[in-house]
């Protein structure tokens, strides 16, 4: 087998050195009744050529966005990732290193993390960020736990317009703790009265911007209301590119900002791995979950970086840790950081304007179709349409025409009467002809009814 270096003769020599007569003698601690000799139900090893063919066959059974105009968002977005990003993250020294526990020989990973933390803090408008969480949804749950610890209060209020995965993950995560999360009903037609829910027992309010339906909201007043009552404002951002055009959560008074970083540098990959962003104010640093990289000097006085404030973490604090997280999204945070470095100030803000411009143009065209209504007053690169028929059926029919039309709202929010709502995302990867194709396809499907 190509991955195993030992020859049979070497194995025998080694067994002899160890002082056993056969390899079975190394496994004598396994109870006899539970020993098996191999995995008889499974096939034997394959050549690389066979594996390649097998894996490609899985891929061919899926409709790749390379072959279809693509308008899906809902927390995961198709953006162009510069070739340099994927080249760099496949360098052996990044790809095949472990967590930087030995800083003298891990400065590459550590400096990159320090730069990542800085970039995340900058775009969210916060003081500090950690070295990543698993994804946006788990980061949201961690933010609620942190807010409860920091305020010594036990209850969180979740906006009804929060991405349902974020809400569900947060509810699941807190359900067995001493804390609780109350989720409001989705509010599509009315303005949500989050401020009215705040009292002295509330640890935090969690609100998404742009919200799940794509709408933007000034959160400054909500931030004031939170702070007056001693609660924290947690702002969720599921589309990181929006931060290049939209007022930052920090500027609106957020205390914790969590988000999904997939849009910058990370491929869609059917939902993971992605990269959870987590940023907060300096005064809450010691309440933060996850790894933190800090600057220091070595014996010779040279600048260097180390993992720091580890006493918050499970490997030291055990059951009193701020989180149980250990492995995070390392390589995805590197991809994010490289992509952000390539974009820079000019590229990041321009990318955001392109997204917004494309979305504005597409929204106007779609809104002009008979029976189709644009529900958003404001949006960044994603908006909600009301169709004259079931959105899931429309999406399915358009998929048969090789058009990936969007996310039916009811797939994520079933039972809310949202069957006709379609969430449409338009990024820089969408061309004018893609939009024409969607409009034409949509008209055809609607007219056939």
């Amino acid at each position: 087998m190509r991955y195993m270096p030992h020859t049979e003769q070497q194995r025998q020599e080694m067994l002899q050195k160890v002082g056993v007569s056969s390899v079975d003698d190394l496994f004598v601690d396994i109870p006899e009744s539970a020993r098996v000799q191999g995995l008889l139900d499974l096939p034997n090893h394959m050549t690389e050529m066979e594996v390649d063919a097998r894996m490609s066959a899985f891929g061919r059974k899926n409709l790749s966005p390379q072959n279809a105009p693509m308008f899906l968002g809902g927390g995961a977005y198709r953006h162009h990732v510069p070739t340099v990003v994927d080249h760099l993250i496949q360098r052996s020294e990044f790809l095949t290193a472990y967590t930087p526990y030995q800083p003298e020989i891990s400065q590459g990973t550590l400096q990159a993390l320090f730069e990542f933390q800085t970039q995340v803090a900058m775009i969210t408008g916060m003081d500090v960020a950690n070295a990543s969480m698993y994804d946006g949804a788990t980061a949201c749950a961690e933010a609620v736990l942190m807010a409860c610890r920091a305020t010594r209060r036990k209850k969180a209020i979740l906006s009804g317009n929060l991405h349902p995965h974020y809400r569900e993950v947060t509810e699941t995560t807190v359900q067995f703790t001493e804390f609780s999360a109350e989720s409001l009903e989705p509010a599509l037609d009315n303005v949500e009265n989050l401020a009215g829910k705040i009292d002295k027992d509330i640890a935090c309010v969690v609100v998404q911007n742009p919200d799940f339906f794509g709408r933007l909201q000034d959160l400054s007043d909500l931030a004031d209301a939170c702070h007056e009552a001693g609660a924290l404002l947690v702002v969720v951002v599921t589309e990181a590119v929006s931060l290049g055009a939209v007022k930052s959560p920090g500027a609106m008074g957020a205390d914790i900002v969590v988000g999904e970083g997939q849009s910058i540098g990370v491929p869609l990959s059917f939902g993971g791995p992605y990269v959870g962003l987590f940023a907060t104010k300096q005064k809450y640093v010691r309440q933060m979950p996850g790894r933190l990289c800090g600057e220091t000097v070595d014996q010779e006085g040279k600048r260097g970086f180390v993992l720091t404030l580890s006493t918050r973490e499970q490997h030291i604090r055990r059951e009193k840790a701020t989180s149980n997280i250990c492995t995070n999204a390392g390589l995805c945070s590197l991809a994010f950081s490289i992509h952000m470095s390539l974009l820079g100030e000019v590229g990041f803000t321009k990318l955001a304007r392109i997204n917004h411009g494309n979305a504005v143009a597409a929204a106007e065209k779609l809104d002009a179709i008979d029976g189709v209504d644009l529900l958003n007053d404001s949006f960044f690169n994603e908006f909600t349409l009301r169709l004259p028929m079931n959105a899931e059926e429309v999406v399915s029919k358009l998929a048969q025409k090789n058009i990936l039309a969007g996310v039916p709202v009811a797939r994520l929010m079933p039972g809310e009467g949202y069957d006709n709502l379609l969430l449409v995302a338009v990024t820089e990867t969408v061309s004018d002809s893609d939009v024409e194709e969607l409009c034409a396809g949509l008209k055809e499907v609607l007219n056939a009814e």
Binding site: R286, S310, T311, I316, R317, K320
Partner: protein, 124 residues
């Protein structure tokens, strides 16, 4: 002014009914470089043995317990900027908190300096 010690290496020194609490020189030596001390809030009511503070080195975090019951009247705010004071002068300027002692009799059960030194020797 009497100074007493606990088996968890806290020291407590009494002035009237106000007691100052910190960790012993032996404890700071064991901990190594102290990087952070989490002190309680002024006004907090402590029972004997309640968690009064947390003292952290780079690779460890240790709870510090209230040697006697009482109300926190003052905390050492200088520790936030200079946690190294715990290493430099743990039984002086590196104190953690002051308590208004509820029952002075609780001090009687603690070790005096000589007894504590013997206790530490016994730890090898």
């Amino acid at each position: 002014m009497t100074k007493k010690y606990t088996e968890d290496h806290e020291w407590i020194s009494l002035d009237g009914d106000i007691a100052t609490v910190g960790i012993s020189n032996y404890a700071q030596e064991q901990l190594g470089d102290v990087v952070f001390v989490e002190v309680p809030e002024v006004g907090a009511e402590m029972g004997k043995g309640d968690e009064l503070a947390v003292v952290e080195s780079v690779k460890a975090a240790s709870e510090v317990y209230a040697p006697v019951a009482g109300e926190v009247t003052e905390v050492n705010e200088d520790l936030e900027a200079n946690p190294s004071m715990v290493n430099e002068d743990s039984e002086g300027s590196g104190w953690f908190a002051k308590l208004k002692v509820a029952d002075l009799g609780e001090l009687d059960a603690l070790m005096d300096e000589a007894a504590y030194q013997d206790y530490v020797k016994g730890l090898g």
